[in-house]
């Protein structure tokens, strides 16, 4: 595994990009031709077909382009937000903060602001916002 191999991983295939842009250019040309044909008597049907091809081509290439970008964004390993809950065993004072390296469940941390007794980490977890679930009959 070489160090040189890592930069290539963030690159999207140039061949793929070339194809997408060629399709986009051709689709735009088709739209222009469609407009041109529309104003030529007897070419209305051709104009319609060219417009259909153009719009479909533009829609498909932009969709693929967005998908590729989305994929690029997704390739990074995301660190989820982790919550640490700290509690005072004496007065029950509770505080919630972002996880810090070195935190672990049942670790004694800084003294309580109210009663000066060392507080305890009682929970370390991540919260997942569930996407709207599909409804299944089973």
């Amino acid at each position: 595994m070489s160090k040189a191999s890592s930069p290539t991983t963030t690159k999207i295939s140039s061949f793929m990009l070339m194809i997408i842009f060629i399709v986009l250019a051709l689709s735009l040309t088709a739209i222009i031709l469609a407009i041109n044909a529309w104003y030529t008597p007897g070419q209305e049907l051709t104009a319609g077909y060219l417009l259909l091809i153009g719009v479909l081509g533009v829609a498909m290439s932009t969709y693929i382009l967005f998908q590729t970008r989305k994929r690029m964004l997704r390739l990074k390993i995301e660190a989820p937000s982790i919550t640490t809950t700290i509690e005072c065993r004496k007065c029950g004072f509770k505080s919630v903060r972002e996880f810090q390296r070195g935190d672990y469940i049942f670790k004694e941390v800084e003294p309580c602001q109210k009663c000066n007794v060392n507080m305890l980490i009682t929970a370390v977890y991540r919260e997942v916002k569930e996407r709207k679930r599909e409804r299944f009959p089973f």
Binding site: M1, K3, S5, S6, T9, T10, G42, Q43, L45, T46, Y49, I53, R71, L75, K76, I77, E78, A79, P80, I82, F99, R101, G102, D103, Y104, I105, F106, K107, A123, V124, Y125, R126, E127, V128, F136, F138
Partner: protein, 384 residues
């Protein structure tokens, strides 16, 4: 009528001959050609087109796997540099570590294979620990355990990437639909596992509790505030009074990433008590089926413990010797949740599981009995 035909018909001259059925000759020829080519291409090259589309799909996933694997390597190296404070660059050593392999023992004669497997795993464990010590000399025990787990996750990602690459290249070389097909079919599951390991990397690097630690968390909650003592190997035990019964709570020693040898610990406690144990309750995280809810608690019988099977074997041997009943309480989660930072639902399930354990003890034992409660799983981020 296809577009070529339409365009051709729009250009026709008044002299063009008319086809008896209505359209012009040129348009009909184009139409015919289009359908003939269409049918011929899909009849002759249909399978090949399907194969190429499958290869493209595998290639896309392979590219993603490569990114994940490289990121994993980067995280491992960065963590070692940060924690280990090593003078030398750990990259070369990490690369060597990622290529490590373990050969499982020969099982042609299965008698005694568990002990052979245990020995191989012990050697592997010692080797890993030594390597981590060399890579990160300044790391304390907890950090060294976390680093070991981080490297193991990076190693798993490297292995997955290499396997998929192998089948992809083999498929491309042989152009065999069946080689490509088998890898394409299992790809969604492989990618899911790879993504799970990717999220595990950061959790291990930072020492965050993971979903697999549900059993260890439940045991830690039960033993919290009581004295603990070490039992072989890498485990702790605490004697707690629950509902008038003496409960020996066992878990791997934390808060570093460690699964311990729960089987050995259970065996030790049984032997210490000369087999006078009324029941054993094993607690662990278990893989849920699709449609089941994360953090659901279920109850059953048997040794609830994962891993290569050595610990399960040891527990089963010990309970068989003294005819001790064994119960299991599990917390359900999927593979992604098991190795990524612990979800709130799993954390909250710990209290429900404790209630279930108490219920099992009340129903299955008498006051004054001795019970063992063993929380299996990786204790990373959970003390003691």
């Amino acid at each position: 009528m296809n577009i070529l035909a339409v365009m051709a018909s729009s250009q026709q001259s008044p002299q063009t001959a008319q086809w008896p059925l209505g359209g012009d000759t040129f348009s009909w020829i184009l139409n015919l050609l289009f359908y003939v080519i269409f049918i011929m291409v899909f009849m002759v090259y249909g399978q090949r087109i399907q194969m190429y589309s499958m290869l493209k799909e595998v290639e896309g996933s392979l590219y993603k796997l490569k990114c994940i694997k490289d990121e994993g390597r980067k995280i491992a190296i960065e963590t070692i540099k940060e924690i280990g404070k090593s003078q030398a660059d750990p990259a070369a050593r990490v690369d060597r570590f990622l290529e490590y392999f373990t050969i499982s023992p020969q099982s042609l004669d299965p008698a005694g294979v568990v002990w052979k497997l245990e020995h191989v795993l012990d050697v592997r464990d010692t080797r890993f620990k030594d390597e981590v010590k060399l890579m990160a000399p300044a790391a304390d025990e907890t950090q060294a355990n976390n680093l070991e787990n981080t490297l193991e996750a990076a190693m798993a990602l490297n292995y997955i990437y290499k396997i998929i690459r192998h089948f992809y290249l083999l498929g491309k070389k042989t152009l065999s639909l069946y080689i490509i097909m088998q890898i394409q079919m299992i790809l969604p599951l492989v990618m899911r596992e790879a993504e799970a390991y990717a999220s595990a990397l950061k959790a291990f690097a930072y020492g965050q509790p993971i979903g697999d630690g549900a059993g260890a968390l439940i045991a830690a909650k039960l033993m919290h505030g009581n004295e603990t003592r070490k039992v072989p190997k890498d485990c702790v035990v605490s004697t707690v009074l629950i509902e008038g019964r003496t409960a020996y709570i066992i878990k791997a020693e934390g808060p570093g990433g460690n699964v311990g040898k729960i089987g050995e610990a259970v065996k030790t406690i049984i032997e210490e008590n000369e087999g006078k144990i009324a029941t054993i309750v094993m607690v662990d995280a278990a893989l849920k089926l699709e449609g089941e809810v994360v953090g659901e608690v279920a109850e059953g019988v048997g040794a609830a413990i994962g891993g290569p099977g050595v610990d399960q074997f040891k527990i089963e041997e010990s309970i068989l010797k003294y005819r001790i009943p064994i119960n299991a309480v599990i917390v359900k989660e999927d593979i992604g949740d098991a190795v990524s930072p612990m979800r709130k639902e799993i954390f909250d399930a710990a209290d429900k599981a404790i209630e279930r354990i108490k219920q099992v003890i009340l129903e299955r034992t008498k006051e004054g009995d001795k019970v063992i409660i063993a929380g299996a799983g990786n204790t990373i981020g959970i003390s003691p």
